[in-house]
């Protein structure tokens, strides 16, 4: 099988799968189990300043959106950074790094906007033998109210400032973890680069309220009757994360910074998504919190088998799909596809007809010659892909190109209907 050895900022790990900074990496017990299971690295759960430990709520910290068979689709948490004493964490990190020299051990940190604190704590942490720092500028709940986490990550100037302090205090690499709770991911990414960051990791969790409690008509979940927004993650957030990763990877000013991809990675295909769209490795949390550490087996041999089938090495996959991402205005408006329904696979549920009829372009029949029959009316089909997306049978409806390959490409930038078109 393909060699999955990963090198990120000079840190090698046997595979590109790290556990993200979160409850699974809170202490040596969990991390030992993760490494025994085969994880390539961990980002230790965020450490804060020395002093009285953080206090967490003892009511619900997590909640989930489920499918009807209770599969976790989205996940939310209001847990804060580590609530264990700094020294305990440092001793355990030191021991772990000693016991597992081939694995990546990165330490997440969150400190106040005060240079002295960075100057004091980073050398203490680095002394454990950790491989790198990850600066937590992302947590959207609790710590952000205290001027840390997302409160820093949402202001590019603060990101740059704190990154500079970290780079000054640290001799090991510094990764800046970005919050998705911003209008554009590019200014924060640029600020991290300007501050000297060696890499960025993204995304952290998304501001979220899961639902209300239908009995009490209060928000859900609550702590003693009151609740607060948490950070959203899990499979549901992957597309948001992929877009932000791709934005950084395809933008000239930010494309050179290494990316550690985070957000909903559950199986090896999710990892392919992140890697192909520009991440050099991936971090996982929710899937482990839903299924346990054993999922690393599928992540590793799924990715390895995929690379073998494609005849690629890991490094070839990284960024492979980035050139295919562009702005809408550059899409070829002369290219035409139409849906085709494979009548041998069609089970005649009629969903394609009704959604096309009621919500799109009236381009699919329901009756032909008196028989229940679903067929695309080419003249009406605009190639929207709605029927493909909702058909319950895999590969039953596909898109086929009908335009001529030789036809001239025409993007919006040059389209006659565009008053701002490029007339050169």
């Amino acid at each position: 099988m393909a060699d999955l050895t990963s090198t990120f900022l000079g840190i090698t790990s046997p595979n590109p799968f790290w556990l993200a900074s979160a409850p699974p990496t809170d202490k040596a017990y969990n991390v030992n189990r993760a490494f025994e299971a085969g994880w390539g690295g961990v980002v230790w759960k965020t450490l804060g300043e020395e002093g009285p430990p953080i206090v967490n709520v003892s009511g619900p910290r997590y909640s989930a959106i489920h499918s009807n068979d209770r599969r976790v689709i989205g996940f939310n948490n209001i847990e804060l950074i580590t609530d264990r004493p700094l020294q305990t964490n440092l001793e355990e990190i030191r021991q772990i790094k000693r016991d597992w020299p081939d694995r990546a051990v990165v330490v997440s940190v969150m400190l106040p906007m005060n240079e002295a604190s960075w100057a004091k704590h980073l050398p203490m942490i680095e002394d454990t033998g950790a491989d790198a720092f990850e600066l937590n500028f992302g947590c959207p709940h609790g710590m952000s109210e205290r001027g840390m986490g997302a409160a820093v990550g949402q202001v590019p100037e603060y990101i740059q400032m704190a990154t500079e302090w970290a780079k000054t205090a640290a001799s090991i690499p510094v990764i800046v973890k970005l919050t998705p709770n911003v209008a554009s991911i590019l200014p924060p990414a640029r600020a991290a680069m300007d501050g000297g960051a060696d890499a960025v990791s993204l995304i952290n969790t998304i501001n979220s309220i899961m639902r209300v409690n239908y009995d009490t008509l209060t928000m859900y979940p609550t702590t003693d009757g009151m609740g607060t927004h948490g950070g959203y993650c899990g499979e549901a957030v992957k597309p948001i994360a992929l877009n932000m990763v791709a934005e950084i990877a395809r933008t000239r000013e930010t494309s050179s910074i290494p990316i550690s991809g985070i957000g909903g990675v559950t199986d090896w295909r999710d990892a392919v998504d992140f890697l192909a769209l520009g991440a050099s490795n991936v971090q996982v949390c929710t899937a482990a919190m839903v299924y346990g550490f054993k999922i690393i087996d599928d992540l590793v041999d799924g990715l390895g088998t995929f690379l073998d089938d494609k005849g690629l090495e890991l490094k070839d996959l990284i960024g492979h799909a980035v050139p295919s991402v562009t702005d809408w205005q550059h899409l070829n408006l002369n290219y035409v596809e139409k849906a085709v329904i494979d009548q041998d696979l069609c089970i005649k549920c009629g969903r394609c007809h009704i959604v096309c009829e009621e919500t799109s372009h009236q381009a699919i029949t329901h009756t032909v010659d008196g028989e229940r029959h679903f067929e695309v009316i080419d003249d009406e089909c605009v190639g929207c892909n709605l029927c493909v997306s909702i058909c319950p049978v895999d590969s039953c409806i596909t898109m086929k190109q009908t335009s001529d390959d030789a036809a001239e490409k025409l993007a919006w930038t040059a389209h006659p209907n565009n008053p701002m078109r490029n007339t050169e």
């Binding site: 499918s67 009807n68 068979d69 209770r70 089970i347 005649k348 549920c349 009629g350 969903r351 007809h353 009704i354 329901h366 229940r372 319950p392 049978v393």
Partner: protein, 444 residues
């Protein structure tokens, strides 16, 4: 051996005399045998199963349902825990949606039409989902219907079975006053007296009757048989309309030699007695039983004979398996219950002296005899004609609105042409008749 009290015990000791007796099995064994055929779905099971529904356009399952239940609609409501809405979607088309969920041959109706069959050869469990949605509503007696403003019209419904009760309920919701004339001790018709016991445990038939009557506006007169206690002419003059849901009360005879011997029993009578017997260990059953017929009643008596402890049960049908009206599921149920099914074997003679000892069959390839301690006849029923009504093959002719050849008289259920001996069809007939009656009464 024909009896009606169900308590008589017959023990034959000589080899000439059949081995027919009660208490073949213990009470515990009988209770286990007659437990619910299908366990109801738990909430988890129902949610997972509901998720399998594709919510088809112009759904084939709904097209296949004789009562036009919006099946994807009620399943969608199960998915969102909207049980009351789900039950209403079912019951507004089929007030006996609870019983139909238990007894419908779904494998030849909604579930046969399910597109999941094409996808993976496993349909959505529509029957069990329907039961999941309706059971809590019917058990709690949650009223989902209101009555329209009174029409000051009175309608007579003859027959307390599925057709009659369906008609009565719909008429009551439409604002009419209804009187149900019922021949038996209890309402429900074949739901109460005919359906196999393991399909409707815990007295569900009566729970459902109570739910139907809770709409109000339905007066019930039991022990009131048409032609004996009340005449059609009287009803026509006393009421604004009459609905006949009188079923097929007469069992067909075999028309062969020896049919009058003891031990030759009409299956519907035995089943009616079985359904009303609290302690089923007291029911006498033969050691070896031969059932003649190929329909649902034949299956029901064959299976229940086994459940009562009969050691060998043969079900013999005169034509091939493709002509059997019992569905493939029911045939399989019989076979897995230990019933041997024989095809293409018309009976030619009942053997024995005073008591039956066997049945002789004549086939294309010759004759054979099956030894029997009891013989059940399950070859269908017919109705006696009613004066003034046009019949066809012993069944009442009706139009699209279920109206008979007599002005002001409608009919539905097993007694009409097109009746297919299914509860669900009878419910639909009653519903259609009520709608037509309402239209006529308001026009007129």
């Amino acid at each position: 051996m024909r009896r009606t009290d169900g308590r008589e015990t017959v023990v034959r000791v000589t080899s000439q005399q059949p081995d027919v007796r009660d208490h073949r099995l213990s009470r515990d064994e009988i209770e286990a045998n007659f437990a619910d055929l299908h366990a109801p779905l738990s909430r988890s099971e129902a949610l997972i199963e509901a998720d399998r529904c594709y919510f088809c356009f112009d759904a084939p399952c709904t097209q296949a349902c004789p009562t036009d239940i919006d099946i994807p609609g009620f399943i969608q409501k199960i998915r969102s825990d909207n049980i009351r809405g789900s039950a209403q979607t079912i019951l507004r088309e089929n007030i006996m949606g609870g019983m139909c969920a238990r007894v419908c041959p779904t494998e030849v109706l909604c579930e046969e039409a399910c597109v999941r069959n094409t996808h993976e050869e496993k349909p959505v469990e529509i029957g069990l989902l329907q039961r999941y949605a309706t059971d809590p509503i019917i058990e709690a007696g949650t009223q989902l219907f209101t009555r329209a403003t009174s029409s000051n019209k009175r309608v007579a419904v003859v027959g307390g079975g599925p057709a009659g009760l369906s008609c009565a309920h719909r008429l009551a919701t439409l604002g009419h006053e209804v009187v149900v004339f019922n021949r038996d001790d209890k309402l429900g018709g074949l739901n109460e007296y005919g359906i196999a016991a393991y399909k409707t445990v815990n007295d569900f038939a009566q729970t459902e009757v109570d739910y139907i009557l809770s709409i109000e506006g339905i007066e019930v007169r039991n022990h009131c048989a048409l032609g004996e206690d009340v005449s059609l002419d009287d009803l026509r003059s006393e009421f604004d309309a009459v609905f006949l849901g009188i079923g097929l009360s007469k069992a067909n005879d075999l028309g062969i030699e020896g049919e009058d011997k003891d031990g030759v029993v009409n299956a519907i009578e035995y089943i009616a007695n079985l359904r009303q017997t609290e302690d089923k260990t007291t029911l006498p059953i033969g050691k070896t039983v031969v059932v003649i017929g190929g329909g649902m009643t034949a299956i029901d008596i064959a299976v229940q004979s086994r459940l009562l402890g009969a050691e060998q049960v043969h079900m013999v049908y005169r034509r091939g398996p493709d002509k059997m009206t019992a569905s493939a599921f029911e045939q399989a149920l019989a076979q897995t219950s230990g019933v041997t099914i024989h095809h293409r074997a018309p009976p030619s003679r009942i053997l024995g002296d005073e008591f039956v000892t066997g049945v002789e069959f004549k086939t294309d390839t010759g004759e054979f005899v099956l030894y029997a301690d009891m013989v059940f006849k399950a070859i269908g029923q017919h109705t006696d004609g009613i004066e003034g009504l046009t019949l066809e093959n012993g069944r009442i002719v009706v139009d699209d609105g279920q109206m008979t050849s007599l002005e002001g008289v409608w009919a539905g259920g097993d007694c009409v042409v097109g009746g297919d001996d299914l509860t669900v069809s009878a419910v639909q007939h009653g519903k259609l008749a009520a709608i037509d009656i309402d239209r006529r009464l308001r026009e007129g």
